[in-house]
């Protein structure tokens, strides 16, 4: 009788370091209040409801460390979140997290690494589950939201029928991902996103899974109002039934 496949073990990397422009005492947007929590802890909460998630790494800017650690103590329960200082770019931040995870990846304790932008607080548990499952099976997975209805501004030419907006969380087989970033470090290559590095240094296929129109990125002030309303509409529960409707 065939035995059940081994359960997938995933490490979640949440990028909260921002883009490096910030100075002085201004609040990093991922630290802003959103419906009773800080923006960045919402997505950590939904991810960690999954049994597959065995590690969580939060990439921060050093100047945010005190606030981040106080927020983690208040809003995120055990197990501990590993906090690491990010680089000067998204690529650098991902590399910092992967270096921290390298011993676990090499020991075979982590099968999949999921990279997520902390400014997307509405990535629910179902979306996390779908990218982890697809990456475990196929090698790489990212959520894409179809924008095929878009038209050109001057109306002269129809837009291609497959315009997609790529979102996070994006998941990749851990060992090839680490190898790709090691190659990139050797060659000083700085990718625009995780998939660009994977595609350059590995032959791991990256597949799309259906994105979620509600998985917005906090960019404009309006996004905070929208996120607040979307959370209220979902009764502050994006667990996909995993949390029994309870609010932590």
């Amino acid at each position: 009788m065939p035995s059940d496949p081994a359960p997938v073990r995933a490490a979640v990397v949440v990028l909260a370091a921002g883009e490096g422009r910030r100075t002085g005492s201004h609040t990093n947007k991922v630290l802003l209040p959103l419906a009773g929590r800080r923006v960045f802890t919402w997505s950590i909460r939904w991810a960690r409801l999954l049994p597959e998630v065995v590690r969580t790494v939060l990439v921060i800017r050093d100047q945010d460390r005190d606030v981040i650690e106080a927020t983690l103590a208040r809003e995120v329960g055990p197990p501990k979140v590993d906090v690491v200082e990010g680089g000067n770019s998204r690529h650098g931040s991902e590399w910092a997290a992967l270096q921290l995870l390298a011993p676990a990846i090499e020991a075979g304790e982590v099968d999949v690494v999921v990279i997520h932008d902390a400014a997307r607080p509405l990535a629910g548990s179902d979306l996390w589950a779908s990218v982890i499952e697809a990456a475990a099976e196929l090698g790489g997975a990212l959520p894409a939201d179809d924008h095929g209805h878009l038209a050109t501004l001057d109306g002269s030419e129809l837009a291609p029928d497959r315009i997609v907006a790529v979102q996070t969380p994006q998941a990749f087989a851990a060992a090839p991902l680490l190898e790709a970033y090691r190659h990139a470090d050797t060659e000083d290559f700085v990718g625009t996103d995780t998939a660009s590095c994977i595609e350059r240094y590995t032959d791991v296929p990256v597949h799309c899974v259906p994105g979620d129109a509600g998985n917005i990125k906090i960019t404009f002030p309006d996004d905070l109002f929208i996120a607040e309303r979307l959370l209220a509409k979902a009764r502050w529960d994006l667990s996909g039934g995993r949390e029994g409707g309870r609010r932590r």
Binding site: R21, R22, S25, H26, T27, N28, K29, L31, L32, P33, A35, G36, A73, R74, G77, I218, T219, F220, P221, D222, D223, L224, F225, E228, R229, A232, R235, W236, R246, R247, R248
Partner: protein
């Protein structure tokens, strides 16, 4: 009402600028770009029902949140509880005042 200043993309300035954000309770009430003054707020007629729905959720989830806090740091919880309880009526009154002034 509490205020935060954060960098967000301003559609008028077409770049990332500092924004002032004003909150009532847990809800965002208004935002203002500190460079061009572009202002967004929740219409007054929407604020009260939204606030009341949020307040209901806050009250319903309070016991669990208190339980968790007590479990994490029992001594600190007991030390700060009386002050926190005494502050609630004033805090609530301030939130309601802010909404009706809005």
């Amino acid at each position: 009402m509490s205020t935060e200043i954060a960098e967000l993309h301003c559609e008028t300035c077409q770049r990332v600028t500092d924004h002032e954000l004003h909150y009532t309770g847990r809800l965002l009430e208004s935002t203002r770009c500190t460079e061009c003054g572009a202002h967004l707020d929740v219409p007054a007629r929407d604020m009260l029902p939204t606030y009341l729905a949020d307040l209901e959720q806050r009250v319903a989830s309070k016991p669990l949140r208190l339980w968790r806090r007590a479990g994490q740091d029992p001594r600190g919880f007991l030390r700060t509880l009386p002050g926190a309880v005494l502050r609630q009526p004033r805090k609530l009154a301030g939130e309601l005042r802010s909404i009706f002034r809005h």
